[in-house]
C-alpha cells in the first residue's frame, strides 16, 4: 500500500497551487546538531545524528557537472552518472543491482550543469554491506559495454522526450538567447549525434577527472555516530584522487537587450519564459533580492504576480519568478502558461508589475509578511532526513558556514524597504526582458 500511494499521488495531478520553490538558502533548528566530522584520511562531512529511524542517508555532491563535458562530447557527464550504479568491482550490472535490492539500499547518481552528486540510503541493519557497494560504485565502476549501450538508448529516449516538452523547448531557447554560446547553453544530455560517439575510454577518463576529494561536499543524516562515520568516509571516499584540474568556465554575460522569440507549436496554451540577468549568491544584495523576488513572484498565492495574473484575471494556473544564482551565471527567470489569445495580456500585466516594483519598491506590510513567511517556514525544510541532507549540501556549496542555519533568519529580518528598493532598481529591467514563447500566441511579433 505504501509505494503505490506515492505513485497515485504523483499522477493525480490536481493541486491547487504549485509547490513553493525557494532559492538557495538553508535551515535553523538542526543548527546545534550539525557536527563536522573529519576522517583520519582527511575527508570531511557534516553529520546530523537522528537515531529514531533505523536508516542513514548519505549525500555527496561534487562542484562540477555537465559543464565539464569536453566540447565535442556533450552528454558525457550525464551518461557517466547513469552508468555509475550499473556494475562495479567484480559485480556486473544485474548482480550489482541485485545486491542493492537484497539489502534494500538506494543508490543513484545525478548530473546537472553545476553539480555531480550521489544519493545513498541504507537500513542500519544492512549498513556495512551496503556501504561496500557504495564504495565499489564510486571507485570501481565497470562501464561494461552492455550497460553503455543500454544507457545510451535511454538517453536517446530522454532527448526525444525533451523535444516534446514545451517547457524544455522554451528553456533551451531562452538560455540560447540569453547566454549566446556560453557552455550553459549546451544540452546537458547531449544530442543524438554527440552521444553516439561516446565510448568506454571517455567514461573511464572522465570519472577519474571529475570525482576528486578536493571538490566534494558530503552530508550524512540518520542513524550513525561520528566514529562510525569517520571510518565510513575513508572507506568510501579514500580511494578518490586528491585533486584534478577542472576546465575553467568563464562567467556568463547575460544578453542585456530585450528579445521576443516565438517558437510555433500547435498547442492550445502557450508556455512563456521571461527574464534577464540576476544576482550572484555571494553578492551582498542576494538576501534582499531573494526577499524581493518572494514578493514579486516567488511566494505562491502571496506574490504580486499570482494575485494579478491568476486571482484577479484568471489568466493562468500559475506564474512564478526565480533567482538562479548558478556557479557561472546569475539569472532572473519567470514562467507562465496561458491560452494563446491571452499571452499578450499576461505579458503586459507581468511587465507592469515588474516596472512597479522597480520604481516603487514594496510596502512595509509586504516586507513584514515576506519575513514572517521566509523565517517561519525555514524549519519546514528540515523535517525529513533527506531534506536535511539536501540543505547541508547547499550550505556547503555556497560556502555559507556551518553556523549559517542560526544566522539565516537574522539576515532575512535585517532586510529593509530601502534595501529592496535599491536591489529592485539595480536588478529588475522590465524593458529588457528576454521573452520566449512556445505555442501559437496571438497579437505578438518576434523581434
Amino acid at each position: 500500500m505504501f509505494m503505490q500511494i506515492t505513485k497515485s499521488l504523483a499522477v493525480m495531478g490536481s493541486v491547487a497551487i504549485g509547490t513553493l520553490t525557494l532559492g538557495a538558502t538553508p535551515p535553523a533548528f538542526a543548527a546545534t546538531e550539525i557536527q563536522e566530522v573529519t576522517s583520519p584520511g582527511g575527508i570531511t562531512a557534516w553529520l546530523v545524528e537522528e537515531h529514531s529511524l533505523p536508516f542513514v542517508v548519505i549525500e555527496a555532491a561534487w562542484e562540477n557537472g555537465t559543464l565539464q563535458d569536453p566540447e565535442d562530447k556533450a552528454g558525457l557527464t550525464y551518461m557517466m552518472a547513469g552508468l555509475m550504479n550499473e556494475g562495479a568491482g567484480d559485480l556486473e550490472s544485474q548482480a550489482f543491482q541485485g545486491e542493492l535490492e537484497r539489502l534494500a539500499a538506494n543508490l543513484s547518481f545525478r548530473a546537472s550543469r553545476d553539480r555531480l552528486s550521489l544519493s545513498f540510503k541504507t537500513l542500519t541493519e544492512n549498513r556495512e554491506e551496503a556501504v561496500e557497494l557504495l564504495r565499489f560504485a564510486l571507485t570501481e565502476p565497470r562501464f561494461d559495454q552492455g550497460p553503455i549501450e543500454q544507457i545510451r538508448g535511454q538517453l536517446k529516449v530522454a532527448i526525444l522526450r525533451d523535444a516534446e516538452s514545451p517547457d524544455k523547448i522554451a528553456a533551451d531557447a531562452w538560455y540560447s538567447t540569453a547566454l549566446a554560446d556560453h557552455p550553459y547553453t549546451r544540452p546537458s544530455k547531449g544530442t543524438l549525434d554527440s552521444i553516439a560517439t561516446l565510448g568506454r575510454d571517455d567514461l573511464i577518463a572522465h570519472r577519474e577527472r571529475l570525482f576528486a576529494k578536493d571538490n566534494v561536499n558530503i552530508a550524512v543524516v540518520g542513524d550513525i555516530g561520528p566514529e562510525a562515520l569517520s571510518e565510513l568516509l575513508d572507506d568510501v571516499f579514500g580511494g578518490l584522487s586528491d585533486a584534478t584540474p577542472l576546465e575553467e568556465v568563464a562567467l556568463a554575460e547575460v544578453n542585456p537587450e530585450a528579445q521576443l522569440q516565438i517558437i510555433e507549436r500547435n498547442m492550445p496554451q502557450s508556455v512563456v519564459l521571461f527574464g534577464h540577468a540576476g544576482i550572484a549568491r555571494e553578492d551582498d544584495d542576494f538576501i534582499p533580492a531573494y526577499v524581493m523576488n518572494y514578493i514579486l513572484g516567488g511566494g505562491g498565492f502571496s506574490s504580486r504576480l499570482m494575485t494579478e495574473v491568476r486571482e484577479k484575471r484568471g489568466l493562468a494556473y500559475s506564474v512564478a519568478t526565480y533567482l538562479y544564482p548558478l556557479r557561472h551565471a546569475a539569472l532572473f527567470i519567470g514562467q507562465v502558461a496561458t491560452e494563446n489569445e491571452r499571452v499578450s495580456e499576461s505579458l503586459d500585466v507581468i511587465r507592469a508589475e515588474i516596472a512597479r516594483l522597480a520604481a516603487e519598491g514594496v510596502t512595509e506590510k509586504e516586507l513584514a509578511d515576506a519575513k514572517t513567511y521566509l523565517t517561519g517556514s525555514y524549519p519546514l525544510r528540515f523535517d525529513t532526513n533527506d531534506k536535511i541532507a539536501g540543505q547541508l549540501i547547499a550550505i556547503q556549496e555556497a560556502d555559507l558556514g556551518i553556523d549559517y542555519i542560526t544566522r539565516r533568519n537574522g539576515l532575512i529580518e535585517a532586510v529593509t524597504q530601502d534595501d529592496i528598493k535599491r536591489v529592485a532598481k539595480r536588478l529588475l529591467g522590465p524593458e529588457n526582458l528576454i521573452v520566449t514563447v512556445v505555442g501559437q500566441p496571438e497579437g505578438l511579433e518576434a523581434n
Partner: protein, 466 residues
Amino acid sequence: MLNRSFFLSKLALGALFSVALVLGACSEEEKTALSSEPIIHGEEPGAPETFELSNGMQVVVIPDRRAPVVTHMVWYRVGAADEPEGMSGVAHFLEHLMFKGTETIPPGELSKIVARNGGQDNAFTSSDFTAYFQRVAIDRLPLVMEMEADRMSNLVLTDAEVMPERDVVLEERSMRVDNNPRSLLSEKINQALFPVHPYGTPVIGWEREIAALSTENAIAFYDRFYTPNNAILIVAGDITAAELQPLAEKYYGSIERRADTPPRVRETSVGPDGPLRVEHADQRVRQATVQRQYRVPSYRNAPGLDSEAMDVLATLLGGSATSRLYRNLVVGSRVAANAGSWYSGTALDDATLGIYAIPAPGHTIADVEAALDAEIAAFIEEGVSQEDVDRTVNLLLAEAIYARDDQQDMARIYGVALTTGGTVQDVLDWPDNLRKVTPDDVMAAAKKYLDLSRSVTGILKPAGDI
C-alpha cells in the same frame, strides 16, 4: 533536543495581531463537544492514535517529534467519482473555490494568512477523495485548525470570485492535459477501462463541462459532501492525541452535521469488454510508448491477499532494475529502452495493474508489444521462486520504513487508506500481510488478473507513424 523557542521568537508579532483580528469574529462559541477516548495502534514510537468527535469526524494522529512542525490535513470522502452526471470537474473546482473565503476570511486570504505565519498550504483532488493541508510550526496549529474548520461550513461564494477561478481551472486543464499528449492518451485509456464507472471521467473534468460549471453547482456539491461526518482530520508531526484532542473538540467538534454521509455506490462491473486498443497519434510526440492496463480489484474489493500479491507481482515483474521485464527487454534483448509495471491498488472501486515498454532506438511499437506479450506468457509458464518473492517483499518493507521519514507522506498514506475503504489497522497490517504472500499467491494473481479480456492497450505515437 531541537530548539523550539528559536522559531517562535522569529515569528513577527504583527502577523499574529492581524490574524487575531481576522479570526476574532469566528472564535465565538466554545462549546465543548465530547469525543471518544484515543486509541493507540501499536507500541512503537510513532504509532498512530485515533479518536472520533461526537459529530462523526474521525481523527488520526501520527506523532513524529523530530522537528517542531506539523502537517495538518482534512480529508473529505468525496472525489471526482462522486460527481453528478454531466458535471465533471466540480469536485476539483470546489477544491479551488475553498480558497475563496468565508464569512470572516476574505477571498484568497487563507493562504496568505498561512504564509504570514510561516506555513505552506495546498489541496488535492482524486477520484475518491479531496484533501486540504497546511504545514506549520506546532504553535500555529490552532490557527490553521480554526480556519480549516471555518471553511467546512462557512464558505461564501460569489460569481465575481468563481468565474475567474473557472478560467484558472481551464488553464490548468490545458497545462496538464491538452498540452501533454501523454495525458491525452491516459484519458482515452481510462475511458476504455471504465466505460460506465466514473473512474473513466478525468478528475479535472472535460473541458466542455468545466466551462459550464456554476457557482450554484459548486455550492450544491459543497452542501452535500462537506460535513464533519464525511471528513477525517489527520495531524502528523510534533503532537500526540492527548495534546490534539482538546483542539480538535474546540474547532471541529462544534461543527454541526449538514448532511448524512452519502452511500458511495457506483457501478462496479461493466467493462472493459477486451482486449481493447486505443491509440493517440500526435505531431508533438517524438518517442512512442506502449502500455497496457488491466482492470483489477483494489485493496478494498480484492479477495484474500490478492492485492498484496499484486503488489509483489508488479514489483518483481517490472518494479526494479532486476525485475523480469527490465532484465529481459532492456538489459537482455534490448528491444526496449525502458520497461516496467505497476499496481495502483488504493481505490474505493476497481484498481489498475499496468505494464509498459518504450521501444529502443531501431525497434518498433510492434516489436516491444510482442516482446511484452512473450514475457508475460513466459512468466506465467515459468513461475517465481521463493527467493524472488522474499527479496521483493523485503524491498517493499524497506520502502515502508523509509516512508516514515516524511510526516507528509505518512499523513497521506493514512488519508488515502481511510478515504478508499481502508482502516488504520489495514495500513498497520500491510507489512505482515505482505510477508504472508507465497509464490503460489503471486502466480495465481498473475493468471487471474493479467487477463486480456479485462485490458486496454494504449499506444502513443508520432502523427504519421504506422
